[in-house]
């Protein structure tokens, strides 16, 4: 009991400390720093929710970009004012209920999550009828279908033109608030009996079934929760970039998320957080490899795509030589820290 109380206090203190740091950045930080911090938070939300299905359940879902797209479009359509929508939709006007509704940002995020969850629910039956490679391809297929629909359904998504001029509602409080909320909820799920059942399915589905676990129900729950937070993060992303179009949410995004959780360690929320932080930071820090360089008399023109080459090599090196990634399946815990301190003292 004492230990649990101690951990609770320490967790609360950490969150308070985090928000104090955020407050300092909010006041004194540059735009650049704030943008990177926002990116980190959005990718933490995405990676932690993606890790729930890929790492904890051991199911290779390649379609999180579908949920992110749906979330982004839903939330964007809800926050734009009717007048803005009228200007944006040049080719075909927006269909009826959407063209008059306007919701505050927070409510639009919740709706974005719910719409993504409903979509996940509808595709769950075909998705979980298969496993392994087939599941990967089916989910990838749904990701592609959503992209095709975004291009085709011009009276909802404005087609290839996308939605422009969204208000930059996403600030540090929204992005980090949701990131922390996602971590708390996903962690509580993982540490519950449901989470242990999910891990059992990951290790051996037949054995899990023999113990009376219904794989479909457990995988569905993980899938729906993952979709909800991906949708919410999609909404955050839309109001961070302020311009969305179908080309923004391709398989590239899924690839980046996969890399994050593989490098962090498949099956570890801590790993997902570390991976997301490294990625969002590295993505900016590595920008120099794509910009023109002057090394002495040698002029190297900017090479677009170099970052993705580096990322693909990192992914392959990690999966071939260090399959466990940074954290493996371990998690950060205060108990571990204190046991370290104690053993040092002796």
């Amino acid at each position: 009991m004492i230990r649990e109380q101690r951990n609770l206090i320490l967790n609360t203190l950490t969150i308070v400390l985090l928000f104090v740091i955020l407050w300092l950045f909010d006041r004194y930080g540059t735009d650049y720093q704030i943008r990177i911090l926002n990116n980190i938070a959005v990718f933490i939300t995405l990676a932690v929710s993606y890790n729930l299905i890929n790492g904890i359940c051991g199911v290779l879902n390649l379609g999180p970009n579908a949920f992110i797209t749906i979330g982004a479009y839903t939330s964007a359509l809800l926050t734009m004012s009717p007048a803005e929508k009228k200007i944006s939709f040049i080719i075909e006007p927006l269909i009826w209920p959407l063209n008059v509704i306007q919701l505050p940002f927070g409510a639009s995020l919740v709706v974005a999550g719910i719409v993504a969850t409903v979509f996940a629910f509808f595709i769950s039956y075909p998705v979980f009828r298969v496993r392994g490679d087939y599941l990967a391809i089916v989910t990838l297929g749904f990701g592609e279908v959503v992209r095709v629909l975004c291009n085709a359904l011009q009276n909802i998504t404005n087609g290839p033109l996308g939605l422009k001029g969204l208000k930059p509602y996403t600030n540090l409080w929204w992005s980090w608030g949701i990131a922390v909320l996602t971590i708390i909820i996903v962690q509580r799920l993982i540490n519950s009996s449901w989470g242990r059942a999910m891990k059992a399915i990951r290790e051996d589905e037949t054995a899990a079934k023999a113990m009376g676990i219904d794989p479909f129900r457990h995988l569905l729950l993980a899938f729906l929760i993952s979709a909800f937070f991906s949708g919410v993060a999609g909404g955050l992303l839309a109001h961070l970039i302020t311009t969305i179009s179908p080309t923004l949410f391709t398989f590239f995004l899924t690839f980046n998320l996969l890399m994050i959780i593989v490098v962090g360690g498949l099956g570890s929320t801590t790993g997902a957080v570390i991976g997301a932080t490294l990625f969002a930071w590295g993505n900016e820090a590595l920008r120099f490899v794509e910009s023109p360089m002057q090394i002495g008399p040698l002029h190297i023109p900017g090479i677009p795509g170099m970052r993705m080459v580096i990322f693909s090599i990192i992914l392959m090196v990690v999966i071939i030589f260090a399959r466990k990634g940074i954290m493996g399946q371990r998690e950060f815990s205060w108990d571990w820290i204190f046991s370290k301190i104690r053993s040092q003292r002796i």
């Binding site: 051991g58 290779l60 390649l62 039956y125 075909p126 009828r129 298969v130 392994g132 490679d133 087939y134 990967a136 391809i137 089916v138 990838l140 297929g141 749904f142 592609e144 279908v145 095709v148 629909l149 291009n151 085709a152 398989f251 690839f255 996969l258 890399m259 593989v262 498949l266 090479i303 677009p304 795509g305 170099m306 993705m308 080459v309 990322f311 693909s312 090599i313 992914l315 392959m316 999966i319 071939i320 030589f321 399959r323």
Partner: protein, 297 residues
């Protein structure tokens, strides 16, 4: 729609389908042996077309030399792919293998982007494929006739190799059981390398014909044909070589005819293949020619 247009579309479908089929053979062979979706397989199409372009532009090779050269180079790239990305993971969980495959695919695409650049290049189609012939009022480009014929010839050759040669027997053995294959004194790594080489060479042939049909080449051109060819392989029954070609034909003809009959659906064309896949996995996961999918342990 009159009968002539219908026949024309049918021939188009056959051509498209035979391209899917050629690429699908590579998927199905690799899947049969390694139980792995070789994600990078589609990108081999891109490798082959760039080899042709550079062979013809830089070394001014005639097409009848640069096409075989591209097929050979792609075969070697296929072997290298296996060595670098898949061989170290033979005993790893399947999910790692699949992630490595996705990484390899992105690496190939982005290496091409870095080395060659993202601007689409025109594919130098040899003029003899441009000729248009008239069969009872149906005007057809000779290319659309050559493509299915080439596919059928390659398929027959491959079936001969698989069923009538020692190497083919080794491949069939490897697709049943690794351990026993090794015990029979077969060099498994050689068999796998050969499988990759044959599959990649066929993908190269498919890629060259694809580029002659759609002569715009860019580093990401292999993704969509690759995915659809995979669907064709599943449709035909994964692991079955004739099934892959049949699946390719069904998918190609279906895709062309749907757009021909309902022109309004043209923009959903890319979604059609995935819809087929999803329905297939719900109702008949083993495909047209397939046996039941068993997990090889």
């Amino acid at each position: 729609m009159n009968i002539q247009i219908f026949i024309q579309q049918l021939i188009n479908g056959f051509t498209l389908g035979s391209l899917y089929g050629l690429v699908a053979i590579g998927y199905t062979m690799v899947y049969g042996i390694l139980r792995l979706i070789n994600f990078a397989h589609g990108d081999l199409l891109m490798v082959a077309t760039y080899v042709v372009i550079y062979g013809m532009a830089l070394f001014s090779l005639p097409w009848y030399l640069s096409f075989p050269l591209a097929v050979m180079v792609t075969g070697i790239v296929g072997i290298l792919l296996d060595r670098v990305a898949y061989k170290p993971l033979r005993d790893a969980p399947r999910i790692s293998l699949l992630i490595s495959a996705i990484g390899a695919s992105f690496l190939l695409e982005n290496l091409a982007l870095v080395i060659i650049g993202g601007v689409p290049k025109p594919f130098p189609r040899p003029p003899i494929f441009d000729k248009v012939i008239d069969i009872y009022g149906v005007k057809v480009q000779v290319l659309t006739i050559y493509t299915p014929i080439t596919t059928i010839i390659l398929l027959l050759g491959l079936l001969y190799i698989v069923h009538n040669t020692k190497v083919g027997k080794a491949m069939r053995a490897a697709s049943r059981d690794f351990e026993t294959t090794r015990l029979m004194g077969i060099n498994l790594d050689r068999v796998i390398a050969l499988t990759f080489m044959i599959g990649s060479s066929l993908a190269a042939a498919g890629g060259i014909m694809w580029a002659m049909k759609y002569p715009q080449v860019n580093p990401f051109m292999g993704i969509i044909p690759g995915l659809k060819a995979f669907i064709a392989a599943v449709l035909g029954g994964i692991g079955s070589i004739p099934g892959a070609v049949i699946g390719g034909f069904v998918l190609g003809i279906g895709e062309v005819l749907i757009v021909a009959v309902f022109p309004g659906l043209a923009q959903y064309r890319d979604a059609f293949a995935f819809l087929v896949l999803i329905l297939l996995l719900i109702f008949r996961p083993t495909g047209i020619m397939g046996e039941a999918i068993v997990d090889k342990t």
